[in-house]
Every structure is written in structure tokens, then in C-alpha cells.
Amino acid sequence: MSGWYAAAPLIVAMTTAAATTLAHAMPRTQRALSLAGAFALLAASIALMDAVWRGGMIVVQSSNWDAPFGITLAVDTFGAVMTLIAAITGAACLIFAIPEIEERHRRAWFHPLSHVLLLGVCGAFITGDLFNLYVWFEVMLIASFGLMTIGGTKAQTDGAVKYVALNLVATLLFLLAVGLIYGMTGTLNYADLSRTIPNVGNTGVLTASAMLLMAAFGMKAAVFPLFFWLPAAYHTPLVSVSAVFAGLLTKVGVYALMRAFTLLFTHDVGWTHEILLWVSGLTMITGVLGAAAQSEMRRILSWHIISQIGYMVMGLALYTPLAIVGSVFYLVHHIIVKANLFLIAGVAARLTGSMELKKIGGLYQSAPLLGVLFFIPAFSLAGFPPLSGFWAKLILVRAALEGREWWIAAAALVTGLLTIYSMTKIWGEAFWKPHPEGGEAAAPLAAAPAAMLAPIVTLAAMTIVIGLFAQPFWIVAERAAAEMLDPTVYAAAVLGGLP
């Protein structure tokens, strides 16, 4: 029965999506259901994490058909951690959304779509089947399309067009790769694939298919040079929407990359992972330079998503135990921090009237507590000790140095420096600089609803906790990495004695 732990997050999210749809005509009920669903999802993912941590990997053969014939849900430590973080982010952003969204937003199906988005994200983390992963990607994607358009500014529409168009390409690339891989192996189950892929004789085609998959996931993850959709769109939607996007969506791509290139495609590491390494370095640099060219808070933050993705991919590309630990750690840290930064940017814009740095200022005077709340994730993002991001960067840089990959370590460090530059730009302009319209132009923090501050405070506290008490998180990341680097364990857990 432990298998129900793996299914629970999916069931909860689906039920909430359906229930909020049915309650669409009853605003208060819908909101209550939505929040209850978010917390139920949190509870379910905590239970899942707990079960995985204590009992090891959870494998469910959905519909009770043995792997590889049915669809396997397989949750190892990595999957459980990601599910948990997704649930946390989802809950935080939904709470933030309560005061943010207006009736017209709510009527545009904000709540059901949010839960569908979370469902897709959790499904992607929980599934053990390549085609099923595609399905969850689509679930996530279509919900994100809708959420992207809620609110309806011109910029949003423009951003949505580019977001949609490019993601449609990624979708089809993914599907193409699934078809090719299935054609070569005759199977879709991760574990079964990890056993059959080494037997494929046509290695060139195999590698090329893996590359196609890498491109598809890379596009979702917004790596260089496939990230175009992200800066085009992420600064446009509602704040709570962009926060949950910023936290989760690209990370699902990273998750998929990590699954694919630890569990499935390790037959030509010298090529695939070397490419990943170059990709990661260029992603970091181009992303952070992109941020340096911006002057609007969410656009700066959006470009930083890209540069940070570079770090996560870097860990995968280095492909050493320490490096993988670094990627996992980075994922966890980054989701919390980046979602929080978007939320804070939202509050800052609410207090000052704009996201555009040139038009705002004075928050240091008017809302010093917001300064503290910004400083924590901002400098964590930049890798400042002793915040969570420091450990993440430290592990990766150490792994790179140990692997004697000097230039990537240098790229990581330089990117960190330029991240500081961007974060201080926001700090200097939005907080330190007086408001261009005079002293009273920036409202005090009390002007922001408590429901917006609660998630911000919580996420900031998590950032500090991860920073100051990194050891437990290290242990989790280490176990996740160890599991990832030993596909035979995964395969045995899923397939049992099957050859």
C-alpha cells in the first residue's frame, strides 16, 4: 500500500483542479478549496518524502500491470525532494495569489489552472515512464499557457505568443525523441530503458536521439541557446504566476535532463556530458549578461533563471557524485529563492508602483523589512555565504575544481560575481535610491497584505535555514545523487527480477 504515497500528490492535485472547476461560480468556496488543495498537496508530498526517506524508493505499478508493460510510478529521493519543493512553492504562490488576483483573474480559471500546473510538475517528478513524462510535461505546459495569459496586458499577450510558439516546438522535439527511442528499444519504462539502451547497436542514432531529447529538455530548461522563450515572457504575467513559473517550470526541464542523462543515456558521456558542460557554461554567462542588460526587476530575475539553470546543468555535466549533489542542492535552493524573489518583486512593485527600476526607489526608507526579505534571497542567489546559494555554488565549484574543469569553475565564479552585480542593481535602485517622485512615493510595508508577506517570510526563512543548517540538506542531496548515479538500483527496484 505504500504505493499510494506516490499516487497521492497526483490524486490530490487532480481532485483540487476538478473541485475548483466545479466551484467556479462560488468564489469563496473556490478559494477555500484551492488553498485546502495546496496544503493537502503539501501534506501528501511531505508524507511521500517521509516514506521514501524511511523506506527507500517507492515503486508503484499503476493499474497493477508489471513494469515495463504498464506505467510505473517510481519515486526515489530526488523525485520526492522535487515533489516536496514543488508543493511548497505551489502553496506559497497560491497564498500570495489570494490578495493579488482580482475577480476577473479568478474568473479566468486561475485556481484550476494553478492546480493543473502543479499536477503536471508533480507528475513529471513522480513518473517512471518516458511517454508518461511527455504527458505530464504537456499537462504542465497547457496550464502554463493559460496562466500566462491571465491578466491580459499587451506585453503579456506578446510574451504568451512567443512562449507558446517555442514551447510547442520543444513539445514536438520531445515527442520525436520518444518515438525514436521507443523504435530502438521497444520500451518506454525508464528502468527498462536503462537496461536496453546499452544493447542498441546503432549507437550513432542512439546518441543523436539522446541529443534530441537533450534539446527538448534543454529548451524546457531554458539553456543556451534555446532559452529565448523565457526572457520573452516571464516578466509579463501575474506575479504569483511568474513566481511559480520561475520556481518550477524550467526546473522540471532540469529534472528531466538529470533523469535522462544519469539513468538512461550514459553510453557516450564523453560526448553528451561534454556538450552539456559547454551548454552549462554558456548558459550561465549569457544568462547573467542578459540580466546585466535589463532594468526591470522581473526581467533581471528572469535572465537570472537562465544563468542559474547553467549551474544545475553544470553539475550534471561534470557527472561526479559531488557534482550531482551540487545540482540537486542547487535545484532545491534555487526554486525557493527564485520564486521568493519574484514574489518580493511583486510586493516592491505594489509599494512603489512599478517593476521598472528607473521609476521606483525609496524602499530602504519606507519598507526596511522588505529590504531584509529581499536581501536574503538576492544574496543567496548570488551565492553569498552563509545563505543557501553559497553551499550550492561551493559544491559545484569544488566539484569542477576536483574534476580539473577549470574554465567551468571560472565561469561559475564569474557568473556569481555578475549575479551580485544584478542583485545590487535592484537593491541600489529599488531600495537605496530615493523614489524619483519624492519621499512619500513608496508605501510602507504595511500597505502590502499579510497574505503576500507570509509566503515571502516563510521562503526567506527556508533560505536561511538551508544556509545555516546545510548538513541535513546535504545528506538528502547526497543520497539523491548516490541513487541517481547507480541506475542498476533503480532498475532493480522497478523491474524486480525481470532480466
Binding site: G152, V169, L173, W271, L401
Partner: protein
């Protein structure tokens, strides 16, 4: 790494035996952080008097440290686990070197906190100020006490952060914001280099513990990575300690309130680089690279700092430039890795901290009371601010290296060090002497110009500072005098102990205040005389010097910083315009091109076989294929919209027929139904949109985009042919065929897969349909509002 035991002092003492299980050093480090957290509250409760409460924290540390002076020579090691998985622990070591720094931090810190309470009395952000200041204090203690490369780095960066916040404290001033950022970026750059260097060092040494790394001798110098490590570490230290060409942030940092300048930017933080160089000297020092880099850059910085000091008119900037010079001196002295140098460095460190702290606070008093720091406007303050004048004068005695001040002692030791260097480094001796000479002049300027002569306009409404702002300068300048007259109070307990730590072997110090009157003594006198002459010249023609020299010398690195920032912005803009032009068709083209190229390159990475077998096929198959292909081509090149859409319909029909031809009736039906509904939706949508004529085809780079399209198509064909060359594993389909009826009770295997075997896919799929509907409704909401 070479064995941890063997050479080096640490091994002799028996490392493990000296571990203390206590948390005393940890407390010294963490207590200021706790105080920092409490500071805003305290200030809210007590106002500026909170400073007295806060000062108790460093004062207690100071007293505890003073009591540890005996234990410091062998050293105290403490360890508290932090992130054991990463080998990161809160390891602390209290030896002679850390002790002297730690005493300065807590001692001067106590005075500064009290001083700041007076200086910033009534400031609306006093709570925040103390928060940052106390945080800095803890971080600085951490830097000098840490014995783990990572925890050292943690505290190192925290000092930069605190400095950033303090320099930008008067944040409404653009100059303060610029200076804060400059300081952060320059020290941050160095910090990251340092991190890399420390990690590589630790990696090479197999331990993250500094005492392990330094205790094992200079083994690292045989490592091929020695030079990169050295450069990275030195980069970190030089940026922090404002060595040329990274010094420009330090004068800028004078934007901070004076207590900060006195504390961070003269007495403590800027010495962190010096500290770390001294700390790592046993491991990294002694090589020619070390010697050349430190002596060269240090010497250059030393000379440059004092020259610029002569050209400044702002009292704080004068002091800042002499700080730069002093930092250069310290680095210069650490270069040779010999005992006289180390001793001189440690002595000068102490001296400089005392007199510079005092001078800054005095300058702060002047600024605070007279309202300006401009040397050209100040004068005659002696009468209204006698105590301030006295402390400044006393501090300047030390600064000038005159007898009775501790500066004299330091100068003697420096002289000794220089002599030891003499054979090889004639030029450096000259540089050092020149520096002395000019420093004397600067000391004279600082002590005389603001205080003597006719009282100027600012002096007329000035008063003496309150006692809280006098305590600091008085104590520090008096200590300079006391130690100057009785150097043995500090000779063994501090300077020799520190030298021992730096050199890795026991060092002693015998200070004789007046040796024979030899040529060295005469040279000293000559230096003083020349300094006095220089001062006389300066009084007459400083304005002309400034006019003549500023344009040529003016702060090259500072301009360099501006250029670098502008360059960064230009680079960022340039590359962002390339990657992100905001044009979807370019994004599309890039995506397709990149993916196609990557896949094509990968195809060449292994064995590749293609299935080219061909079975003839049926007539209808050829017909359907041909129609489908033709429909595709028509759709692509249609010039009217309806042609494209009907061609798409035909294409869908063709695909449905292909499904039909190869045994997939369910698929054929679904494909056909979907195609029909797509047409229904298309017809509904298209009528609302403009047609193709608005998008002429000439604006497409046809050859490029055509090549991308052809390449994409070709690569997909090749991939599929390759896949088809692989023997197919029919396990799954056979199993489905065998299981569908007996176990899943369904005869339509496809449907059984959809609702049972792989029902989860279907569940996800209907959620896509569900969410697509909601998303479309959400999107339509946009238009409804737009029209209103």
C-alpha cells in the same frame, strides 16, 4: 599532499592534543552577530545610548582575549561541526597572528561602537547602522579566527557585505551607492578568486583545515597548480587590502560614516588581505613568485598611496590614501618571507591600527563639529577642539615615525627588514624611504593644517566633540604613546607571537629604543628633515601640484572601474541584442538550426546503419503517400489562407489513411475527427484575422530558412531510417496481445492500453484537454476586456 606531520610547528606541538572542546572562540565570533540582531531593538529602546550596551560585547571579547595572550603562542584550536558532509566545520584557531588581529577588532571595535553612538546620535537609521556594524565585527572576528578555508571564506564575504551596507549607509547619495557597489564588486571579484584558490589549495592539500595546510610546510610549491593557486589567493588578498590596481574602492569607501572608515577601512577589514597573506605565508610564501608579486605590488601601492595623499584636500581621503600606502607597506613587508619582515609587518600593523583609528575619529570629530573636512577650508580648530587636536597630534607622531610614538618602533623594525633586503632590492629601499618622507609630510599636514593658523569660517561655530567621540581617539593615541615608550608591553605577547605564527617557527623580539647613532639613524633624521621641507613646499604649492598632477595621475583604476562597468553594460547589451532580439522567427530559426546541427553532429559519433530495404508497396499506399506529401507542400507554399487550411485538411486525411493502411482504425477515426474539429475551430478563428497577403514572403531569408527546413527534414528521415535498422523488440506488443482479453477483458487492445494498461497517460491527456479549454477561456478573457 605531503604528510601532515613532519616539518612545521603545528606537527611539533601535536595538533590533536591542542584541541579544545569548548566554544569560547566560537562565542567571540558569534556574540557580535547576536548583538547585531538585537541592535535595532536596543536602539529603539535606548536611542543612541544603546551603543554602550553594544560595546560591552567587544569589550568582553577583548578582555577574554587579553587573558589568552599566553596561550596564544602555542595556539588554541576549536572545532564545531557545521556541514560535515562537505568537510566544512566552524574550526577556529587562536594563535599569535589571530590574537593580534582579534584584539584590534574587539578593542578598536569597543571604542568605535561608543564613538558611533555619539557620531550618529539621532540618526533615524542608527539601529540599522549598529546591525551592520556588529555583523561586520562578528564576520571580521570569524575571518581572523577561522581555521577552515570555507568558514574563513564565509566570514570574508560577510565582511564585504557589511562593508557594502555601511559604505552605502547614506544611500540617498549617489556617490555613496556607487562607492558601495564598487567596493563590493572589487572585493567580491577577489573573494571569488580567493574561493577558487582556497579550494584548489585545500584540494591539493587534502584538508580543509588551514592549520593542516600551513602546518605542513611549503609542499604546495611543488604542485603544478602552485602558481594559479598563488595568483588566485593573492588576488583575493590584494582586492580586499586595496593593493594597486584594486585600491580605488578604498578612497571611495570614505562615503561611509566616519566610524566605519575608522573601523573597517583602516583598522580591520582592509587588513584581512594582509592577514590572510600572513596566514598562508608558511604554505605559499618563500617562492620567487611570492616575493616578486608581494614586494612589487606592495611597494608600488605604498608609494602611490602616499603620493595621492599629498594631492588630496579632503581630510578623510588623505587618511584613506595613507591607509592604502600602509597596506602596501604591510604587503611589501610580507614579501620576502623572512623574520625581520614579518616582525616589522606585525609591528606596523599594530601601530597603523592605533594611529589611523585615532586619526579617523579625530577627522570625524572635525567633520562633525566644523561641518567640513576640506583642508583648504579648515584652520584654527586647536582652540575650540583642543582634545581632538591633541589626539590627532599624538597619532601623527606615530604616523610620522617620530620617537616616543610606537611608530618609531615600527619604523626601526621596518628599517631592519629593509636592510635585510638591501642587497637584492635597492629600489625598494629607496621607495620605502621616499614613502617615509612623504608620510612624515602627510602627518604634518593632518596634525597642523586643520588646527593651527587663523580660525576659518567653519571653525567659528565649532565645539569640542562630546566625550563619547573623544574616548576612542584619546585611548588609541595614548596607547600609541604608551607602547612607544614601553614597547615590551606588546613586543613578546603580540608582535613576537604573531611573527611566530607567520614564520611557523618561534620568533623573539628585542626592542632597543635607541641604538647607536649610526648612519641609519642619521638617515632617519634626514628623512624627517626632508619631510619637513616637503611640508613647507606643500603648504605653498599644493594647489598647483594638484592642478598639474591630478589630470595625469588621477585615479587610473577608478576610471578603469567606470570603464569596466560601462564595458560590462555594453557587452551585456550587445550579446542580449544578439540572443534576444524580440523576434520570434529568429528564435525559431535558431532553435531549429541548433537542434538540427547538434543531432547531425551526434549521428557521426557512433555506428550508424540505415534501413534502406524496400518491399514495393501497394498502389494505394503510394497514392496516399503522394497525396499527403503534395498536401504538405501545398500547405507550405500556399499563397492564400484557405488553400493552406484545406491543404492541411487534406494532409490530415492522408495521415488518417496511412493509419488505416497499417492497421490502426482507432487512430484513423481519431485523426479524422480531430482534423474535422480543427477545421471547425480554424474557420471560426480565421474569419477574425487578416489573411496572408499581409505577410509577404519576401521578408524571409529564403535560402537560410530553406536550408534549415531541408536540414531538419533530412535529419528526421535519417534518424528514422537508423531506428528502423535496429531489430525491434516486440516484447511489449506481444504481451499486450496476450494479456488484453484474458486479464483486462477487452478485445480492442488499443483501447485496453488507453483505459487500463497505460491509463495514466490517458488521464494526463484528458487533463490536457480540460486545461486547454480553461486556458483558452482564460485567453479569451483578454479580448473581452480589451473591447470594453
Amino acid at each position: 599532499m605531503p604528510g601532515l606531520s613532519g616539518e612545521g610547528h603545528a606537527a611539533d606541538e601535536g595538533l590533536e592534543g591542542r584541541f579544545r572542546s569548548g566554544r569560547a572562540v566560537l562565542t567571540v565570533v558569534l556574540a557580535p552577530f547576536v548583538a547585531a540582531g538585537a541592535a535595532p531593538l536596543l536602539v529603539r529602546l535606548l536611542g543612541h545610548r544603546a551603543s554602550f550596551v553594544l560595546a560591552l560585547v567587544p569589550a568582553a571579547s577583548f578582555l577574554w582575549l587579553v587573558a589568552r595572550t599566553d596561550e596564544a603562542t602555542p595556539g588554541i584550536l576549536e572545532s564545531t561541526p557545521w556541514v560535515p558532509g562537505l568537510d566544512v566545520a566552524l574550526d577556529f584557531s587562536l594563535d599569535g597572528l589571530s590574537l593580534i588581529f582579534s584584539l584590534l577588532i574587539s578593542g578598536i571595535g569597543t571604542l568605535i561602537v561608543v564613538y558611533a553612538g555619539g557620531y550618529l546620535k539621532g540618526h533615524p537609521m542608527l539601529g540599522r547602522f549598529f546591525l551592520f556594524l556588529m555583523m561586520f565585527m562578528g564576520a571580521m572576528q570569524g575571518v581572523v579566527l577561522a581555521d577552515n578555508v570555507v568558514s574563513l571564506f564565509v566570514f570574508w564575504e560577510l565582511t564585504s557585505l557589511a562593508s557594502y551596507l555601511l559604505v552605502g549607509f547614506e544611500s540617498s547619495k549617489p556617490a555613496a551607492r556607487r562607492a558601495a557597489l564598487q567596493a563590493l564588486l572589487i572585493t567580491g571579484t577577489g573573494g571569488l578568486a580567493l574561493l577558487a584558490g582556497l579550494l584548489m589549495l585545500a584540494n591539493a592539500g587534502g584538508s580543509w583545515r588551514i592549520s593542516d595546510l600551513t602546518g605542513a610546510g611549503s609542499w604546495i610549491q611543488d604542485d603544478p597548480l602552485y602558481l594559479p593557486i598563488l595568483i588566485l589567493v593573492v588576488l583575493g588578498c590584494f582586492t580586499k587590502s586595496a593593493q594597486w590596481p584594486f585600491h580605488s574602492w578604498l578612497p571611495g569607501a570614505m562615503q561611509a560614516p566616519t566610524p566605519v572608515s575608522a573601523y573597517l577601512h583602516s583598522a580591520t577589514m582592509v587588513k584581512a588581505g594582509v592577514y590572510l597573506l600572513a596566514r598562508l605565508d608558511p604554505a605559499l610564501g618563500g617562492s620567487p613568485e611570492w616575493l616578486w608579486i608581494l614586494t612589487g605590488i606592495g611597494g608600488l601601492t605604498m608609494l602611490m598611496g602616499v603620493v595621492f595623499a599629498l594631492l588630496e584636500t579632503d581630510l578623510k581621503l588623505v587618511l584613506a590614501w595613507t591607509t592604502v600606502s600602509a597596506l602596501g607597506t604591510l604587503v611589501f613587508l610580507l614579501g620576502p618571507t623572512h623574520e625581520p619582515g614579518a616582525k616589522a609587518a606585525m609591528a606596523f600593523l599594530l601601530v597603523h591600527a592605533l594611529y589611523k583609528g585615532a586619526l579617523f575619529m579625530a577627522a570625524g570629530n572635525v567633520d562633525h563639529e566644523a561641518g567640513t573636512r576640506d583642508l583648504t577650508k579648515l584652520g584654527g580648530l586647536m582652540r575650540v577642539m583642543p582634545v581632538t587636536f591633541a589626539t590627532a597630534a599624538l597619532a601623527c607622531v606615530s604616523m610620522a615615525g617620530l620617537p616616543l610614538g610606537l611608530g618609531w618602533v615600527a619604523k626601526e623594525l621596518i628599517g631592519a627588514a629593509k636592510i635585510a633586503l638591501e642587497d637584492e632590492f635597492g629600489i625598494t629601499v629607496i621607495a620605502a624611504t621616499l614613502t617615509n618622507l612623504m608620510l612624515f609630510c602627510v602627518a604634518a599636514i593632518v596634525a597642523i593644517v586643520p588646527f593651527t593658523g587663523k580660525p576659518t569660517e567653519p571653525a567659528e561655530h565649532a565645539h569640542e566633540a562630546p566625550w563619547s567621540m573623544l574616548a576612542g581617539p584619546v585611548v588609541l593615541s595614548s596607547l600609541g604613546l604608551v607602547f612607544g615608550m614601553a614597547p615590551n608591553l606588546v613586543a613578546d605577547s603580540l608582535i613576537a607571537a604573531a611573527t611566530t605564527a607567520v614564520m611557523g617557527r618561534k620568533a623573539t623580539l628585542d626592542i632597543v629604543l635607541f641604538k647607536a647613532v649610526d648612519w641609519k639613524f642619521l638617515l632617519t633624521l634626514a628623512t624627517f628633515a626632508a619631510g619637513a621641507v616637503l611640508f613647507a613646499f606643500w603648504r605653498r604649492s599644493a594647489a598647483r601640484w594638484r592642478a598639474a598632477l591630478n589630470p595625469t595621475l588621477d585615479r587610473g583604476p577608478d576610471r578603469g572601474y567606470d570603464h569596466a562597468m560601462a564595458g560590462l553594460a555594453a557587452l551585456a547589451t550587445w550579446q542580449t541584442r544578439i540572443w534576444q532580439p524580440g523576434l520570434l522567427h529568429r528564435y525559431m530559426a535558431a532553435s531549429f538550426a541548433v537542434v538540427t546541427l547538434a543531432v547531425a553532429a551526434s549521428l557521426a559519433r557512433g555506428d550508424v546503419r540505415f534501413n534502406l530495404s524496400f518491399d514495393g508497396g501497394r498502389l494505394i499506399e503510394w497514392a496516399v503517400f503522394a497525396v499527403t506529401a503534395a498536401a504538405g507542400l501545398v500547405a507550405a507554399f500556399a499563397t492564400t489562407r484557405l488553400l493552406a487550411v484545406t491543404a492541411l485538411g487534406m494532409l490530415g486525411l492522408g495521415v488518417a489513411m496511412i493509419f488505416m493502411l497499417f492497421g490502426a482504425p482507432d487512430l484513423a477515426i481519431t485523426q479524422f475527427m480531430v482534423e474535422t474539429l480543427v477545421v471547425v475551430i480554424l474557420a471560426l478563428v480565421l474569419i477574425r484575422l487578416p489573411g496572408f497577403r499581409l505577410s509577404s514572403r519576401s521578408d524571409r531569408p529564403r535560402w537560410l530558412y530553406g536550408s534549415i527546413s531541408v536540414g531538419t527534414g533530412a535529419i528526421v528521415t535519417l534518424l528514422l531510417l537508423g531506428v528502423l535498422a535496429e531489430p525491434f523488440d516486440p516484447r511489449l506488443s506481444e504481451w499486450f496481445g496476450a494479456t488484453a482479453v484474458p486479464d483486462a477483458f477487452g478485445h480492442n487492445i488499443v483501447n485496453v492500453i488507453l483505459v487500463d494498461f497505460r491509463a495514466l497517460d490517458t488521464l494526463g491527456e484528458i487533463i490536457v484537454v480540460f486545461a486547454a479549454a480553461l486556458s483558452a477561456l482564460a485567453a479569451i478573457g483578454i479580448g473581452a476586456r480589451a473591447r470594453r
